[in-house]
Symmetry: C2
Subunit: 139 residues, 2 copies
DNA sequence: CAAATTGTTACTAAGTTAGTTGCATTCAAA
DNA sequence: TTTGAATGCAACTAACTTAGTAACAATTTG
């Protein structure tokens, strides 16, 4: 159960908020859609709020709503908001000094994988919350 | 310590084998470069072997060597060989039947993320082991 | 003041991975 | 034919990460 689902949960929540922007929601209502506990949901909502993607209000009649319009929110925004781990991790063993591969593989691989990560993020940037919601409504 | 490093370790091993293709290696020698145990290394080597990226020989004077030339090996080949987990995982909660978002988010998100994953794999396909080794030699 | 809601911390349970150990299998050389 | 060295593989432990829960402080409305 150690796979990081925060990104997909966050997208689910954002889609829930964007599906109908006229009504505000509580963490309990959103938790119902995801079928988990409000407290768990709030942890993700708090990150989305800190990233400026949603607005929340504490206290009685507290609520959550999108802070921007769905066409102006990309999956990259959500991905960055939840601070999900990078797609690739690089091992960090102590270098074997006599070995050129051992000494340099890390920085060389980092350069290569950063480009790949960047490409992936560019791809996420092209998918808007709006298009995702449109797909959901098509079903 | 639960981050999956098999891909980066596999690239390290392949770079070690490709750095000088004239001499064969044993798992013990490769383990020295990564600074870990030969047995651990062999688990990854076995996957690379099954994927046809390296050739191995059992018995006395056993060895490992590349099965192809470095320009013909891409990081995607290595990525697929080690069967690393996908870049994104999607949560699977029970659907809340009354909620259209809950019922459809999974398939919609899968479509979107498959495209992103594909883009990432295309990016990996463009990086050859040869270019990586050249970068290492530049250092 | 009371009720309801977000924000946050602490905690437990479960899953994943690194890393080790041990052994069966295989092959070359003495 | 025996011995030694190597891969391949299975079992195991420890460490780490995450899901999920519970509890509570802070806040806001009525």
């Amino acid at each position: 159960m150690a796979a990081n689902n925060q990104f997909s949960i966050a997208v689910h929540l954002m889609a829930g908020l964007g599906f109908c922007t006229k009504t505000d929601r509580t963490s309990a209502q959103l938790a119902g859609s995801v079928n988990t506990s409000p407290s768990f949901i709030r942890r993700t909502l708090a990150k989305l709020s800190k990233a400026g993607l949603i607005e929340t209000s504490k206290g009685k009649n507290g609520f959550c709503r999108l802070a921007k319009n769905p066409p102006d929110i990309s999956l990259l925004d959500i991905y960055l908001a939840v601070e999900a781990p990078k797609a690739f991790s690089i091992h960090h063993y102590e270098e074997t000094n006599a070995c050129q591969v051992s000494c340099n593989i890390k920085s060389v691989l980092e350069d290569a994988l950063n480009k790949t990560q960047k490409g992936m993020e560019d791809s996420l940037a092209k998918i808007t919350l709006c298009s995702l919601i449109a797909d959901i409504k098509k079903h």
